[in-house]
Structure formats: structure tokens, C-alpha cells
Amino acid sequence: MRFLVCLKQVPDSTVRVKVGSDGRSIATEGITWSISPYDEYAIELALERKDADASTGVSVVTVGGARARDALRQALAMGCDDATLVMSEQELPALDAAKALAKVVGELKPDVVLCGKQASDDDQGLVGPALAEALGWPHVGMLTKLVPAGDGVELWREIEGGHEVWKAKTPVLGLVHKSEKEPRYPSLPGIMKAKKKEIPEKDLESLGVSASAPRLEILAMEPPPARGQGKIFKLDGDAKGVAAQVAKALHEEAKVI
């Protein structure tokens, strides 16, 4: 079975994201960039299939600028087989990015395409469903598990109170929420191997894609409102007394109980 994972490079989850001087984009100086967390889960989910069956192929693709090569390299070091960079220094509207990804899917012909449920920069969750739509494929969201079954796959979708299990004939697209295990770290041999791999580059023109879809325009960005310094209570052996004080404050002052 062949997988294609679509990944996006975003600020690392540990970055304290700040607003840039223009007030409508983020300050990027000194930021660490990583594979978006849900895309890392998607890679892990695919690699778990490869662990179980060595004939499994796992490709990765991103639409991004030169910097995004590092994210692809990271995916190769985790154990993915090959990577494709669709070069676009400008952020494309989501539906155009999906069109470009659809062209790559057409060339690589994977059985399963995995996207993250949302990218941790725009937090939209649009490119995955838009890619499925562009391909004319069904998709399953909130994926946490994928099991080969007969001539297709079983897809586990996390919902309130449990999982829906869907059966799909391939090709199919999944939006990943979690993998069974934590995303693996690249091994040293993995890193060495990844360094030697070519990463073919495609441009939008050769894929026949231009920026034409509706574009959202960010007018302003701001950090969430700062929280004031709270009241600190020390237990010091008097759990009962402190508990009564906190309960009273929540009732009389904060009025939440």
C-alpha cells in the first residue's frame, strides 16, 4: 500500500508566537519551524503501517518555500521514502494549494492520502477536505487509526464517546487527529540517509496551477488578552481552611459557583 502525506511547515509548538511590526502577520525572526503537529501524527500513522508491512511506501509532499525543505528532510529522517517540494514562496489560497497537491497525487498515485486535521498556523482544516474534493475522493476526518482490510482500509474516526469505524475502498483520504504512538524521532542512520536523498522540486506553472481561489485577507492580529496576576494560597497544612477560602472566592468574587 502506498501512502502520501501532505505536510506543512509551521512555527514549532514551543514558539511564543508574536505579532509582527505590521500588526497583521507574525514576527518570524528567530522562529524554529517544524512539521505541523497533526501532520507529524499523519506521518507516524503511515510509518506504523510500514513497520507492520515493509512493502508499504510512504511519500511526503509540501507546497511551500525553500525553507520547507527542512520539514521534508525531517520526514525523510523519520523514515519516509521520498519527498516532493512544490515551490511557492507566496502562501497560496487553500483551494489552490489543494489543486497543486491534487496534481502531485495524480502523478504519484497513492492508495491513501493523509493530511493533518488542521495546520497549526491558520488552524483552518480546509486543505484536506478541499484536496479530497479536487480529487473526487471520499474523506474521513478525525482519523486515529487505519487498518488494512480486504481490498481497502478500515478508518477509525474519533467522535464524542468513541469511534466510528468506516470501511473504504482505496483510494481514500484521511484527516489525521492522532497516531497510535507518539510521532517517532529521526534515528541517526535515518538522518544520514535523508541527507543523501534528492528532493525533486516542482513549480506551480508546470503543474498548471495559478493563484485564483478566494483569498482571506488578514486585517489585524493581536495576542490573546493578558491575564492579571492571580491570588496565591499556600496550603501549609491547612487544606480545609484554604479549600473554604477558594470556594468562597469562586462564589462571592468570581461568581462562577
Binding site: A94, K178, E217, I218, L219, G230, K240
Partner: protein
């Protein structure tokens, strides 16, 4: 502007977010509320139905709740229509032909004001718009689901172990979350007792869900749920940036941690420095007492 609101039901009843959205949408223009007929959400069949309806109704704006299914449906419908889409918005303003939304970005670390060209599909975060006390129940007409994909079929539902009938996180007005400081799943009885006293849902840090102490769906944070309850109680949670991303917009935050330098205290309104195993049982009793006197 003509607005189409997509209703969502659970167990035969309209979800609260649908009522919130329908009530607010009336201030933007003429509103029609429709729901897709069918037991189980399916992206292909439902987005086809909503896209058809959006086109035939002449709506310039489709609004729906940013629930699990709502976000999925909204995105696929926008893609099918080739319309603009904005997810999980906390507010919308219609300015002539243009739509302006407020929405979190960068895993909740940034709030953005975004101009969305019409026509557009916009999903709204549950609880972002308060339901007016006198809001009439919207009248919802049903539309038939479109054709299903012949490659995908629902097979079965697998209930999560231990999933009770507690309030779900996204809709909860109070949440008690436990972290690694709880030492093990056997100690969740204590978390649940406090949650019951407060009428709260239970949540967890990723350290806890990764360890399998609690189900995934209870995880709060960047790769879990974003929550905005009136009261958030964090027990034995250190306050990693990825956890904070999911809960800093709670109205009132109470944190219990034995480490006085824990980052969680930087955002807590009430911080208790000490052993949670001593404090929580006493606090549960104190909450019961306050509630019985109120």
C-alpha cells in the same frame, strides 16, 4: 445579505450552537435554517446537499457551528462551491458585501481579524455568541442528503471505555482537568468527585492521555480541545505552552500545583500551592457546602 444557517442535531435535538448562530444571524439579514436529513454525518453526501441548497437559495453566507462535524462539512462544502471559508470564528460582522470575522490562529496564540470575500462559508465556535434568553427556537426545514460515495461505508460504532454521560468538554461551562501530578488513572475518582460537585466536565493534559490514563477526547490544548468555560480547574498540570494554548481564554482559572514556580500559576486567577491529594477532597467538600447554601 441572505444567510443560510446549517442546523446540527444530537439525539433528535438541535445543538445549542445552532440556536446561538440562528439567533445572531438574524442581525445580518434574511435567514433560512436547514438541516440535512439523516442519522449519520457523511462528508460527501452532506456537502453535496448543502452546496446545492446554498446555490439555489441565493445565500451569500453559509453559517454553521464549528463542531467536529460542522468544521468538516463547512470545509468540504466551501471547496465544492469554490467559496471562501473561515473556520472556528468567534465573531462575524457583515459590512456591505464584505464579511469580517474574528478567529484564533497559531493554535490559539493569536487572535486575528480577517476579511472574507463573499460568498463564503463560516463556522462559528460554540459558545462564542450567547444565546439570548428570549430567543425563539428557529424553524428548521429539512433537506435530503446527496449521493453517497460508493467507496466509503459506515461499519460500526466503537464506544470508548469508561465514557460516561458527563457533559462534553466543548459545551461545558466548568471543567476540571488532571495532569501527570495525579500519579495514575486510579486517582481520577477524586477528579470526578470534584467535577460532579461543580457540575463540570473532566479534561486532561496530553501527558495523561498519552499515558492512556484517560481517553484522547479529554485532552485539552494545542493538539486537543480548545475550551473556554467559565471555570477551569487545573490539577497537577505544569502549564506547558501547548496546554495553555487550549485553555487560557477560560473566564476563571484555578490551579493546584505543589511547585510554586509552575507556569500554570502565571495565568491562574486562584493558585493553590501544595499537594493536590490533600487539597482536592477538602475543596470538593467546600464546593458542596457553598452550593448547598447558595
Amino acid at each position: 445579505m441572505k444567510i443560510l444557517v446549517i442546523a446540527e442535531s444530537k439525539d433528535g435535538e438541535l445543538r445549542r450552537v445552532t440556536r446561538e448562530v440562528a439567533a445572531k444571524a438574524a442581525s445580518f439579514g434574511e435567514v433560512e435554517v436547514v438541516g440535512v436529513k439523516g442519522e449519520r454525518y457523511s462528508p460527501v453526501a452532506w456537502s453535496a446537499a448543502v452546496a446545492d441548497k446554498a446555490k439555489s437559495s441565493g445565500a451569500q453566507l453559509v453559517l454553521l457551528g464549528a463542531t467536529l462535524n460542522g468544521r468538516d462539512l463547512g470545509a468540504r462544502t466551501a471547496a465544492k462551491l469554490g467559496w471562501a471559508y473561515a473556520a472556528d470564528c468567534t465573531d462575524v460582522a457583515v459590512k456591505g458585501d464584505a464579511i469580517e470575522v474574528r478567529r484564533p490562529m497559531y493554535a490559539g496564540k493569536i487572535r486575528a481579524t480577517v476579511k472574507v470575500p463573499a460568498p463564503a462559508v463560516v463556522s462559528i465556535r460554540p459558545g462564542a455568541w450567547t444565546l439570548p434568553a428570549d430567543a425563539a427556537a428557529p424553524s428548521v426545514s429539512e433537506i435530503a442528503a446527496g449521493a453517497e460515495s460508493d467507496r466509503l461505508s459506515f461499519d460500526r460504532f466503537q464506544a470508548a471505555a469508561g465514557g460516561g454521560d458527563r457533559v462534553t468538554l466543548a459545551e461545558a461551562r466548568a471543567i476540571v482537568s488532571g495532569g501527570r501530578g495525579l500519579k495514575g488513572p486510579e486517582n481520577w475518582k477524586m477528579v470526578e468527585a470534584l467535577a460532579d460537585a461543580l457540575g463540570a466536565a473532566t479534561g486532561a493534559s496530553r501527558a495523561v492521555t498519552d499515558a492512556g490514563w484517560r481517553p484522547n477526547e479529554e485532552q485539552v490544548g494545542q493538539t486537543g480541545k480548545t475550551v473556554t468555560p467559565d471555570l477551569y480547574v487545573a490539577l497537577g498540570i505544569s502549564g506547558a505552552i501547548q496546554h495553555l494554548a487550549g485553555m487560557t481564554s477560560s473566564k476563571v482559572i484555578v490551579a493546584v500545583n505543589k511547585d510554586p514556580d509552575a507556569d500554570i500559576f502565571k495565568i491562574a486567577d486562584y493558585g493553590v500551592v501544595g499537594d493536590l491529594f490533600e487539597f482536592v477532597p477538602a475543596f470538593t467538600e467546600a464546593v458542596k457546602r457553598v452550593k448547598s447554601q447558595a
